[in-house]
Amino acid sequence: MSEQIKFEGTNGDRILVMACLLLLALPGLSSLGVDMEQRGEELRRRERRPVQGWQAPAAIKDKTGWAEKAYSDRLGLRTPLLQLRSLFHWGVLGQAPGTEMVRGKGGWLFLDYGRHLDNWRGAAPMSDALLQDWVKNFLIRKENAEAGGSKYIVCLLPGKPSIYPERIPERFARVGPSRRDQLMSALREAGVTVRDLLPRMLAGKAHDSQEQWDFMVHPTGTHWSGRGERVAEAWLRAELDIEPVRAPWVRRKGQRAVGDTWITRLYLDGLAPFSDLEWWTVQKPDNGIKLRNKRHSRQWKNGERRFHMNNDSYGRGIRDLLGRNVWLRSVWEHSLDGGRMRTSQAEVVVDWFVERVLDDLVPSEFMTSTPADLQRAFAAGESSGWSLESGSPGTWRVLGEQVVHQDLEQPGRIQAGVKPATLLLEGLPELEQDCILELDLVAPGFGGVEVGVASRPGGLKSADASQCVAHLGGRRVLHVPILGFKLKRGNRLQVLLDCGPGTYVLHRARLRKIEPLLGLGLRAR
């Protein structure tokens, strides 16, 4: 009846006890005095050692979890043990050794983070509410772009499963439209211009070579391969009618695309099929021409065509080739600061996002707003006690000038040259909650007004919680949100006036506390 297994043999017992103790104690012992800095590249960074804060009893629990992770990350024999685990998963169970990876056909690997494959196969379509939030997000972006005179297009890029569905295990059979398909249809219905790269990528597969391990994507990674990027670059240039840059693509052999393969990170070296890639890259010209494109509107050359591209991690390789006047903004949170779109005054604003963002991002949490949204939030706000009106405690001055102005009984005049002027708003109260700054400002031309919090006395080079709004020129009332930052005594607001050289006139500045805001159109949290 008992589940107990009783074995005999004293020698066997002795050997077993010694072997088990050795197996258990050896990893710990071998990490004593051995620096495990050489740990293999894994899925996440190594946990830091928790060294502080053990004094508070309540914090012990958090620290112990942290300490366990740090200990595991530094454990001796970690690599052989994880190789054993990978051998078991890959060789015996026939699966990828990670909960967020799926082993495809022919030894391919697919990232399944956020249940990407189920979303792709149509098993978990977006609800109507979620879909509408995404549409609203893109409509706000469109409104911002068009307010700056830009044409707006969205490119929802196809990921690995869309390009190579035949490599996905049969159990992920498609049952409906993917989230990308859903959103593209909805955006088109809403009047947003959507362009589809997928047909071009599928056409590119005709040149695949199994023997040379040459595909449009990295078979054991996540992103497009160099050839895939090359196809995307040609497609985008054709879409935008951009002149090609004189930097040829070349093929290189024998260099592994480290950084976009999961093989090493999953300890699958020697287990999974992996060939050194023959990959495409850009031949850097040796004639002194810089390939890097512009990262800031102020660096743009007047008279040249301008493009503004909000991109995530896809197509890094093509960015250098899009031309000098493509202003790139890396957008990870997709919480777009619409003012920058308006300020860019680009011919076209391109949103360049891979479909995988639809798996785990929640658009209702994006701080995407229009000027009207901000004005509404300001009107509903409550006075912070700070303003630049008669009798108010606020003061202001221009960076580089010693004169401190008390209030704005007379409008303040600020002269700016080619270099933008910076206004400092001082005497601010301590504020625990979000707020909005209202500026009644005359500007000499179209441009951006960027407001950040200078939290260190001498640290004007960096500003926290920076937000940019567009100024269309002339006299305008602007509303700039200051979100997720607690104002402390001594903090200053740093206002960068970037609307061209000339005279700026500040008529009024008010700061209002607002309710905690969240999401599209700044609705209440």
Binding site: M1, I15, L23, P27, G28, G94, Q95
Partner: protein, 469 residues
């Protein structure tokens, strides 16, 4: 610190075992007490003070209860029972009963956690059984507060059982021997439990989670049954695996804990199931609640009432939710039905039908046990009986990977009593062949230990289900 975490496996366990061996008879208990308190504090931080306070209170009350035959003894027992019930209500049931967690519990739980402290149900029941046993004269009160603290906090079984009675370990606490053969058996048992938990339960747990987490309208017939099968095996492998590990560690340290699982899924009736499932809990309820209530001594109706009452409380012991109450009521009702005639009917059926009945009855009971709400349980039952989604994209094929299939197969194998059969067979073959087989078995267990350690390092394992009770 989980039993399958790298820190426990590669540092805590070998260090404590070695220290306990070299500390000698007198030092051994001190090493274990310190290790046990550290083990609990590591996971529960300041709540170790509650454990220590409970130990102190029960030790003092035990001395008073030990003055048997006096009014003081009765009063002390009453205070002890009130203390334990109060502790459980404070930390586990207050939010459910009164709608909010009392300030006292929040103040004691200064770490901001809202759930009950890990293992509170286990160590409270242990403490209560001690007071009652002393009152009944089954054991003498422990005079040493440190030895009593060791009994209450012994780390192998502190947070998820088995619920060890003082009478079973009293002599072992006073003095025990560590023999090589028993240590080897301890390692074998520990590796078996670790493999059950990490390799088998871990491979099928994602399917159960997926099935039970799907929105009601999306669950189809096939996945509903697969999810239920996976959960039924998972909870057995998870919990019996923990008990195996606890018993194994106990043997390494010279203790012998009673068996907690006796292949319950091989039972042929629900009555038999409860003699084999979580034995330490079911026997606790039998000895300290069912029999004192009157047991089966007052006719069929009263017996039925006693059974239902005991199982309602057994359900509540697992958690403060109506789903657990329903689970308890389900088992109570099944036991009553078997007593009033169903049991006799079952014995006339072929054995396969009896097993089928047991599996069906128990597995269906796991539905409310696993579900978060009664509504979810209702939807899940609907899907099981064909009222779920008819064109769900979540098909069997989607989840039936080789790893899940292997996990189910080996899990089912681990839940039938093939070991006694293997032992008998081995005893019949000649010595050299038997030795070879034993070496193969030991090598397999060693590999299981290494793989489980590697799996823990990979960080994909889930916590033990029974921790939350």
């Amino acid at each position: 610190m989980l039993f399958h975490s790298p820190l426990f496996l590669t540092a805590f366990l070998p260090l404590v075992v070695l220290l306990a061996w070299v500390a000698g008879r007198r030092g051994r208990n001190w090493v274990l007490l310190a290790a046990s308190l550290l083990f609990y504090a590591w996971g529960e931080g300041p709540m170790v003070a509650v454990l220590a306070a409970s130990g102190l209170v029960h030790h003092l009350l035990g001395l008073l209860v030990g003055r048997r035959g006096t009014l003081l003894s009765h009063w002390a027992l009453g205070v002890g029972v009130a203390f334990d019930v109060g502790l459980l209500v404070l930390f586990k049931y207050s939010a459910w009963l009164f709608g909010e967690t009392p300030d006292l519990a929040l103040a004691l739980r200064s770490d901001g956690a809202t759930g009950p402290p890990i293992g509170v149900s286990f160590f409270t029941f242990q403490a209560l059984s001690y007071l009652v046993d002393v009152h009944r004269g089954v054991v003498e009160p422990q005079r040493s507060p440190f030895k009593f603290a060791l009994y209450l906090s012994l780390f192998p079984q502190l947070i998820a059982g088995p619920i060890v009675r003082y009478a079973d370990v009293a002599t072992q606490i006073d003095g025990r021997e560590v023999k090589l053969q028993r240590v080897a058996d301890g390692f074998r048992r520990f590796a078996t439990g670790l493999g059950k938990k990490v390799l088998l339960a871990g491979s099928i747990a994602p399917v159960a989670d997926q099935a039970f987490n799907l929105p009601p309208g999306e669950l189809g017939f096939g996945l509903a049954w697969l999810g239920l099968a996976c959960y039924s095996l998972q909870i057995y492998l998870d919990f019996s695996g923990y008990s195996d590990m606890a018993i194994g560690i106990g043997r390494m340290l010279g203790f012998e804990f009673l068996e907690n699982f006796l292949h319950p899924y091989s039972s042929r009736s629900v009555t038999e199931f409860w003699r084999r499932w979580h034995v330490s809990l079911s026997s606790w309820f039998r000895d300290y609640l069912y029999i004192p209530l009157g047991g089966n001594r007052h006719g069929r109706v009263r017996t039925g009432c006693h059974l239902v009452a005991v199982f309602l409380l057994c359900g509540l012991w697992h958690g403060a939710a109506w789903t657990f109450v329903l689970w308890g009521a389900w088992h109570g009702a099944l036991l009553v039905m078997e007593r009033v005639g169903l049991g006799r009917f079952l014995t006339r059926l072929p054995r396969a039908c009896q097993h089928l009945w047991l599996l069906l009855a128990v597995c269906l009971g796991w539905v409310p046990f696993r579900c978060e709400s009664m509504g979810q349980a209702g939807s899940y039952f609907g899907a099981l009986f064909g009222f779920g989604s008819s064109n769900s994209p979540w098909t069997l094929e989607r989840f039936m990977t080789p790893a899940v299939f292997l996990g189910l197969l080996l899990g089912a194998l681990a839940s039938v009593p093939w070991v006694p059969w293997a032992r008998r067979t081995l005893a019949e073959i000649n010595t050299s062949a038997r030795r070879r087989w034993l070496v193969v078995a030991d090598l397999s267990l060693f590999l299981v230990l290494a793989l489980s350690l590697a799996e823990g390092l990979g960080g994909t394992s889930t916590p033990f289900i029974y921790f939350r009770f």
